[in-house]
Symmetry: C2
Subunit: 333 residues, 2 copies
């Protein structure tokens, strides 16, 4: 399997992306195609032991970065950027998947332009694994930001794609699909939720109804569907609350000498919980609905996170997620 | 000052509401008017030392409770309910404020029908104090559920009312008002946010722009404005994440014998943090935009939470929040 990695995308690129790419090539036996500025990539690769690995370089002279306030525009003005060149390679079938830790808005725009949507999909969504208290430890949340304003049909398709991904790639049998609302009762919700409910009830998936915000970490659903505005707020509020609580516990413990002694003993417990805050394990977001496997890792990804984003791409290709979504669409229509 | 308390509203009514009412009467030197079934209230009052307190009963034979799936309807079919009778007393000027731990949808509907909106206010909002890492320890979040679908003018008025309440009642000088969005940049956001921004920029308050979800617990704004759907999701997700993290830390500690010894020493630290989860301190939600002081405490309120809800009503009346909102509206128009 070949996976193209955007060597230039991410806050700590190219150093950590290339490190992560080499790591993944070794661990998963993959061909990693580094797309970006060839000289830069060659220099970085020299720092690693690449014996026995297949690590070709796909040259691309430009970079879409955080300075590009209009990523959709940058995709057009930078035709030789690593994102555009990498996605074009995917479209031409010269690779099996595309992974980037670059600007998510840029990746979305570039994928729409150069890869295109799966036939019948109205809007792609960005999905991510979200921690919960279930034995599995996570659910699958979408959309987390591709579409700030949604229509009922979009949410219906998110449920379809999310359910397929959860089952095929994440290995959740008969995943429970739910929609985020402001109350458990079906009568409530905003207009979007109320208009989406009839579609979801008739969908070819295990729809379990509304979930409230508190039900998501409580593990009441496996696939949590919402618009990209609300999904983004859910993700960011969760991050903020977790940080606030962990920082507060640390501050409180520091303020109490006896507790401090205790905390030293409890350190492994904190670490285990802190890892729930750590999206590195899950390999970033998945762009669902475009005609190819595209993984958008967190901009702050380190080498381990990049490695895991590649693992996510690997699994998605292995389970033929694109084919599964296409047949899911066919059987639903 | 006289405050009417819905003796029948709340999961643990009438026992804890009456306990909370007596407590508040004693602590704050208030006349508490118990509205509800007279026999029930009298029997409960006998359990307390009420010497020297003024605790009249306003009889009301019916109760709007969690069984009423259509609270707006119940408000009409139960004209002698404690909520309706209490709010009518407020409208007639026979009391200074109304406090309930009953069904929030019922309280909203009853207040709209029997108290009415402040002239010029398009929609009332439910607001609450939300914990953050600032020295003050909280911000003020609205709407948390009165209006699942909003228009830009509603959000503008929420900013106006929330800013006034934060300054006059919560004592925050020049509160920083912000709107929730899915990105920090001003260009982003859903249509509602984008259409509201021009209004907010010209408002007579200290508007500081967009906040992302993670910025709310991080304390980047004092008044956080959003629609009632998103506000509800923010509140409930925060509750769920906090519970998940505290439970996980406890479970992790239990699984590690050494950490367990440490945790025993750290218990006060956990308690201090757990109290952040505890909305009892803050006295519940405030219904802003109706023509009188209405406090909607959490349905699960215990006596202490009811006492604090009455304290919130007390402060709101003392600072003449209704008058302040009216003059704020006049100067803004």
């Amino acid at each position: 399997m070949r996976i193209v990695l955007d060597a230039m995308g991410g806050d700590y690129a190219p150093e950590v992306t290339i490190h992560g790419g080499v790591w993944a090539a070794r661990d998963f036996g993959l061909e990693i195609q580094f797309v970006g500025q060839a000289g830069v990539i060659q220099a970085e690769l020299k720092k690693h032991n690449t014996a026995g690995l297949t690590l070709p370089i796909i040259p691309a002279s430009e970079v879409i970065d955080m300075e590009d306030h209009n990523p959709a525009g940058a995709v057009k003005t930078k035709p030789d950027s690593s994102m555009v060149v990498g996605l074009q390679a995917l479209r031409r079938g010269e690779t099996d998947a595309f992974v980037t830790a670059g600007h998510s808005g840029g990746a979305l725009a570039a994928a729409l332009l150069h890869l295109g949507r799966i036939r019948g999909i109205k809007r792609p969504a960005i999905a991510t694994v979200y921690p919960n208290v279930s034995e599995r430890g996570f659910c699958f949340l979408l959309d987390i930001g591709a579409n700030a304003d949604c229509k009922p049909e979009y949410l219906y398709q998110f449920a379809l794609m999310g359910g397929t991904y959860a089952e095929q790639v994440l290995g959740i049998p008969k995943p429970r699909v739910a929609i985020v609302s402001n109350a458990e009762e079906e009568g409530k919700g905003n207009m979007l939720v109320q208009n989406t409910l009839p579609l979801l009830r008739n969908g070819p998936f295990n729809f379990v109804g509304n979930v409230e915000g508190k039900d998501i970490p409580a593990g009441l659903a496996d696939v949590v569907v919402t618009d990209g505005f609300t999904g983004n707020v859910i993700l960011k509020v969760s991050e903020g609350v977790a940080r606030m609580l962990l920082d507060s516990i640390k501050a409180e413990i520091k303020a109490r000498p006896l507790a401090m002694a205790g905390a030293a003993l409890a350190t492994p417990a904190f670490k285990a919980v802190g890892s729930m805050l750590d999206y590195r394990e899950y390999g970033g977001g998945v762009l669902l609905g475009v005609d190819g496997v595209v993984i958008i890792a967190h901009g702050r990804s380190d080498a381990y996170a990049v490695r895991n984003a590649i693992r996510a791409a690997h699994r998605a290709v292995e389970s033929d997620i694109i084919g599964a979504i296409k047949s899911g669409l066919d059987s639903a229509s």
